[in-house]
Amino acid sequence: MYDMKELYEAFSVQEAIELRLAHPEAQIIAGGSDVLVQMREGKRAGKELISIYLIDELRGVSLDENEAIRIGSLTSFSHITRDPIIQKYINVLGEAVDLVGGPQIRNIGTIGGNTCNGVTSADSASTLHAWEAIIELTGPSGKRLVPIKDFYIKASTVDIREGEIQTAILIPKESYENTWGSYSKYAMRNAMDIATTGCSVNVRLSPDKQTFDRVRIAYGVAGPVPMRAPSAEALIQGKALTIENAEAFSLEVLKDINPRDSWRAPKAFRQHIAVEMAKRCLIEATKRCGGVIN
C-alpha cells in the first residue's frame, strides 16, 4: 500500500485541469516511476495524487501541421525508441531514452515525467535541449508554449502553472531538418544507473559537407538543470570539418558548463568527461550527416 492521502483519477485533459484547479496541493502522477518511489521512501508520503496515466489522448508521436514532431507527454520511452517518426527524423532521442534504467522502466517511464521532474540527469533532457524543443502546457485558458530552456526554472522546479499539465513536447522542423545527432551517457553501470554526465550533440553541415552549418550541444548533470553550451556552438559555426576544430569546440564547453562535486563524481572528473563526450558526439553526429572530419 502506498501512503497517499487521496487518489484522483483523470481520463481526459479537461478532467485533469479541473482536478488540478480543485486540488492545487495534489501532485500529478504519470507513470509514477519517480512519484511512487519517492512516496515509498517517505518523501511524498501522505500526499494527494492526481493520476493522468490513463489519458490515452496524450500518447503517441505525430507530425503536426507545421511538420513539427509532436510527442504526447505520456509516451513511454520504449514507444519513443520504436516509433517510425522518431527513427526517421530524430533517432538520437530514441537512442538516448533507450539508456534509461532497464526495459521495465522504459515501458512505464514517460517523457513528460522525465522533463516535469526538473532533474538534470534525466536522459531525455539534454537531447531535448539540443533540439530546442518546445513544451506544450494545457490549462484553464488553453495552450501555452514554452521553449525548453525557459521551462526549467531551477533544480526540481519547472514552469507549470495553476491548473496546467504538460500535454506534449514539440521538435520544430527548423531544428531537425537535415540534422543528425548523437548522445552519450556516462554512468558506472550499463543498465539501471543514473548518468554521471550526459551529452547530446546535433549537427547540420553545409550542402557541400565541408563546414559546420549549425551545431547544438547540451548536457545533463553539468549544472543544476540541463543546459546548452552556447560558446562552443558559436565557436564551431561555419568552421571546417577538422579534428583541430572538433577539439577546440570540445574545450570551449568548459566556458559554459558548471558541474559540481557529488558522491557520484568530482567536478574535475565531470569536466574531463564533458570535454571528451563533446568531441566524440560531434564526430559521431558529423559522420551521421555524411561528413568526414580529418
Binding site: 500500500m1 502506498y2 501512503d3 497517499m4 492521502k5 487521496e6 487518489l7 483519477e9 502522477i29 509514477g32 516511476s33 511512487l36 518511489v37 515509498r40 521512501e41 493520476s51 496515466y53 490513463l54 520504449s78 534504467g101 532497464g102 526495459p103 521495465q104 522502466i105 515501458n107 512505464i108 550499463n190 543498465a191 539501471m192
Partner: protein, 163 residues
C-alpha cells in the same frame, strides 16, 4: 478518504475478473493479496530489481511501482498463467531448471516473464541483446550466465535453430 475502494475490471491470465481494490494498492499488492498470485514477488518495491515483473498488454512492468487501479480494461499475465492445462511447465520454465538458472528462485518469476516477452516477439537476438533485454532484473545467486543460457536456448529452439 472517500471512495477508497474502486471497482476495476480486467483480464487476468486469460480470465475476465473484477475486484474492489484499495486505490492505495500497488499492482503487486492486488495480485498477491486479492488474487493469491504469489509468483509476483516483493523484492525492493522501488522498481530496481524486477522480482515483481508482470506482462500488461504485451509489455513488462514492475508491478510494485504500478497502481492497481491502472489495470482497468487491460490484460495482465503472471507466471501462473504459463501453466499448461494439466499443470505442465512451459518450455522456458523447464529450460530454467535444465540450465540450473534457479537457485533460491526469488528472481525467477520476474526473469521468466521478461523471457516470455522476448520469446513471443519471435525475433532472434544476440547474446548481448538478450543481456540488455534482461538487464532490469537482479539475481543474487546465479551469476546470470545460466539464465542467459536458458533464454537463449529456448529462443533458438522455438525458432527451429539447432546448434
Amino acid at each position: 478518504m472517500k471512495d477508497q475502494y474502486r471497482l476495476i475490471e480486467f483480464n487476468l491470465n486469460g480470465k475476465d475478473v473484477a475486484c474492489m481494490v484499495d486505490c492505495r494498492a500497488s499492482l503487486t499488492d492486488m495480485l498477491r493479496n486479492d488474487f493469491r498470485l504469489t509468483s509476483v514477488k516483493k523484492g525492493c518495491e522501488v522498481g530496481e530489481c524486477g522480482a515483481c515483473n508482470v506482462i500488461i498488454d504485451g509489455e513488462c512492468y514492475n508491478s510494485c511501482i504500478y497502481l492497481a487501479v491502472w489495470v482497468r480494461g487491460k490484460h495482465v499475465r503472471t507466471l501462473e498463467g504459463l501453466m499448461g492445462p494439466n499443470g505442465e511447465l512451459s518450455d522456458i520454465q523447464q529450460a530454467f531448471i535444465d540450465e540450473t538458472a534457479v537457485q533460491c528462485g526469488f528472481c525467477t518469476p520476474g526473469f521468466i516473464m521478461s523471457a516470455v516477452e522476448i520469446l513471443e516477439s519471435g525475433k532472434l537476438y544476440t547474446r548481448d541483446e538478450l543481456r540488455k533485454l534482461l538487464s532490469g532484473h537482479l539475481c543474487r545467486c546465479t551469476g546470470y550466465e545460466n539464465i542467459l543460457n536458458a533464454v537463449e536456448k529456448t529462443m533458438k529452439k522455438r525458432l527451429g535453430i539447432t546448434e
